[in-house]
């Protein structure tokens, strides 16, 4: 790893280790905003790694941010850190100021896209954003909105919206924000990628899943070594060993798939690598949750044990920004359209195109 990533890894691991405690996680599930954690993240500069230095950011790349976002997944950090990083990047690319405080993003689909209108030269947004991560806690949201059949990225102030709180399976906030002709700022359509939220949203969830899968592995290995049954640690049973070996392999695979996507994002259009990462991390997520719970037995099914903080997030993050089948279908169509003979050359071409830059 590069020196910067080493430092980031140390910083973020220490910070989450200290502040993303069980108490914090439980309190967050009951609706408390973890202010101390967020403040520490902000003060360490971890909320704006991609923002240019002139804007008060670190001016780093996605590959560096990977370390932070994966760790957020590993520690089940109950804050919209990945969302803030992505929103900040989009705003920075548009040359816009980055608002203070937590930011979030909204992934809209055809059925749920708010519309834009202009009044007195100001752009305004109307409509619902469903299931916005930390919609109630974030000060601003970057979303897509429709105008005359055109899709635009906009920045809105969440205090202009009516908020109906909700939760995903992991009890992370997924709130509905309803706007009625609220003022917005449009992002630059030349510099901020149009598919930025759906695509890069999938990328950050892949990294978070890789982190959470790694957590399930660590917990399961620890438990298997500690837990004695039939007179010996269950780690001695071949069936347990084989399951954990499988989990370890999938964990390493998910991490590299996600990391590859983040690296590609620094270099070129990362759509192919992000699709691969979401598929691989999502498949690993399902298997990891099943194996880790099987190894843990009944204790892992209790709220008191910490395993579920990872596994419920894995289940929640799998479908967000598109599940495996959706991304696999896109990959499959792309590859089929090119034909089998192009498969390998296209694959090697992508890698060398990235490396050459």
């Amino acid at each position: 790893m590069s020196e910067l990533r080493d430092i980031l890894e140390d910083t973020v691991t220490r910070l989450f280790g200290d502040l993303a405690t069980r108490e914090t996680l439980e309190a967050a599930e009951n609706g408390d905003w973890p202010e101390a954690l967020w403040t520490a993240l902000t003060e360490s500069g971890l909320t704006r790694p991609l923002v240019s230095e002139s804007q008060g950011g670190a001016g780093a790349g996605w590959h560096d941010a990977f370390v932070i976002i994966k760790a957020a997944g590993r520690f089940a950090a109950p804050v919209p850190l990945p969302e803030t990083i992505l929103a900040g990047w989009l705003l920075d690319r548009s040359g816009m100021d980055i608002p203070d405080g937590p930011l979030t993003i909204a992934c809209t689909d055809a059925a749920h896209t708010p519309t834009l209108s202009q009044r007195d030269g100001e752009w305004r947004i109307s409509g619902d954003l469903p299931a916005v991560p930390w919609g109630a806690d974030a000060g601003h949201v970057v979303s897509t909105a429709q105008h005359d059949g055109d899709s635009r990225l906009v920045l809105a102030n969440t205090s202009d919206a009516a908020c109906r709180p909700d939760r995903n399976t992991a009890r992370e906030p997924r709130d509905r924000l309803s706007f009625a002709s609220a003022p917005v700022t449009l992002l630059d359509r030349e510099t901020a990628p149009k598919d930025g939220i759906a695509l890069y949203g999938a990328m950050i969830r892949a990294a978070q899943m890789a982190g959470a899968v790694e957590r399930t592995l660590a917990e399961a290995v620890q438990y298997a070594n500690d837990r004695v049954q039939f007179g010996r640690p269950i780690a001695k049973f071949q069936a347990i060993q084989h399951q954990l070996a499988t989990l370890a392999a999938l964990s390493a695979q998910a991490t590299l798939a996600a990391e590859t996507a983040f690296r590609a994002a620094d270099r070129r259009d990362p759509r192919f690598e992000i699709a691969c990462a979401k598929v691989i991390a999502g498949e690993a997520a399902g298997a990891a949750a099943a194996i880790a719970h099987q190894v843990h037995g009944a204790i892992g099914f209790t709220y008191e044990h910490s395993l579920h903080f990872a596994t419920r997030r894995l289940w929640s993050w799998r479908p967000e920004f598109g599940g495996e089948s959706q991304w696999a279908e896109e990959l499959g169509r792309t590859v089929a359209a090119r034909g089998g003979d192009a498969l390998w050359t296209d694959l090697t071409q992508r890698q060398s195109a990235g490396a050459a830059e």
Binding site: H293, F301, R312, Q326
Partner: protein, 382 residues
């Protein structure tokens, strides 16, 4: 001849009567239940519902009339049960008594115990839980530490049971306690007792599931006095009796049917003319479902014919649990649903529940490891 043999079973025509009765009953009794509650299936208990079932004579329905039973056939009970499960009826409260505790008392209990306990069970007035697992025992059920010391006129119990499903809502526990020897003696020196959960010295502490539900409990015993007539079966026969009881627990249709309500919702969520991928996914699921039902029926039929399909029952559990556990993943894959717990639709709420709950399916009634080990022994692997 293979060691595992499923004989096909034709249900006798009279079972169709009770099938229709149960359907009519459930149509009314479950009318107000939201789909996401039915998705919880037999993990859910409802005392009012249980009493309605009792009024129909469907708790302990195969037992002798003198104990409150209806002397119906085992296959009629089977049909009643599969209809309950197919709808996701909340049978959780009376379920253990009907499936395990009642048959145990009938088989090993004294006449006085039968008269005392069976009629209230059939009236839906006595709910049972099972006190078997202990902290640190896991799949190793025989490593019981909770001790019943013989005293004048009875026994004094000290120790802790854990994973006791529904203890906080039940009236009685069938407890497995050590009456002699040490945990290292394992199967030796264990006995079963009927425990009134209101006895002084019993403390029930909830264990909250990751779903947020309260089903499991820790049950602490501190100098709990049980009179001599609370012993069930012979002193030291506890393990033998438990093995028989686990066989009841392992072989029923609940081993493949827990997620039928979710399947119903999934098919309803697809269009009537699904795409190729959804059609194939649904078709494979239905082929499993139809075949597992034949297998489960076969076990019931063989039991009814006086055979001992223990190995076949274990095979149904192995395949049934694999099937059940796969359903949330299929539903997730085919719908890409993102469940919301507060204001989300019923499908999403159901999916959120079964996704989490399904991990426990391969733990209850014997873990996957235990189940496969039993099959391997049945195959004569040495």
């Amino acid at each position: 001849m293979p060691e595992i043999q499923f004989e096909p079973c034709d249900l006798p025509p009279e079972t169709e009567t009770i099938r229709e009765e149960v359907r009519d009953f459930l149509r009314e009794a479950l009318a107000e239940y939201p789909a996401s509650r039915l998705a919880k299936s037999w993990a859910e208990g409802d005392a009012g519902f249980s009493r309605k079932v009792a009024q129909r004579g469907w708790i302990g329905m195969t037992w002798p009339k003198k104990y409150g039973g209806q002397e119906r056939s085992a296959l009629e009970r089977y049909v009643m049960l599969e209809e309950m499960l197919a709808m996701g009826a909340p049978v959780g409260l009376h379920w253990i008594a009907d499936r395990q505790s009642g048959p145990l008392i009938l088989r090993f209990g004294t006449e006085a115990q039968r008269q005392e306990f069976l009629p209230p069970i059939t009236r839906g007035e006595a709910f049972f839980c099972i006190g078997m697992s202990e902290p640190d025992s896991g799949s190793d059920l025989a490593s019981v530490r909770t001790r019943a010391e013989k005293v004048d006129g009875g026994w004094v119990v000290n120790g802790t049971k854990v994973w006791t499903s529904g203890a906080h809502r039940c009236d009685f526990m069938i407890g497995l306690f050590r009456t002699s020897g040490a945990p290292e003696d394992r199967h030796e020196g264990l006995s079963q007792f009927l425990v009134d959960m209101k006895m002084p010295g019993i403390e029930i502490r909830p264990i909250i599931n990751m779903t947020g539900d309260h089903d499991f409990n820790q049950v602490h015993f501190e100098d709990v006095f049980l009179a001599d007539d609370r012993l069930i079966g012979g002193t030291g026969d506890g393990w033998k009796q438990v093995v028989a009881e686990l066989a009841f627990e392992r072989a029923g249709p609940e081993r493949y049917m827990s997620n039928i309500p979710m399947i119903r919702q999934l098919i309803n969520a697809s269009t009537q003319a699904p795409g190729e991928r959804a059609a194939v996914g649904i078709g494979r699921m239905v082929a499993q479902l139809a075949t597992l039902r034949e297998m489960s029926l076969s076990v019931a039929g063989m039991q009814n014919a006086g055979k001992d399909p223990a190995l076949e029952g274990t095979v149904v559990k192995e395949l049934g649990v694999t099937f059940e556990q796969g359903i949330p993943g299929i539903a997730q894959d085919l719908t890409d649903a993102e469940p919301l717990l507060e204001h989300g639709d019923e499908f999403g709420k159901s999916l959120a529940f079964v996704t989490q709950a399904s991990v426990s399916y391969s733990l209850r009634g014997g873990t996957r490891e235990v189940v496969r080990g039993i099959i391997a022994r049945g195959l004569g692997l040495r």
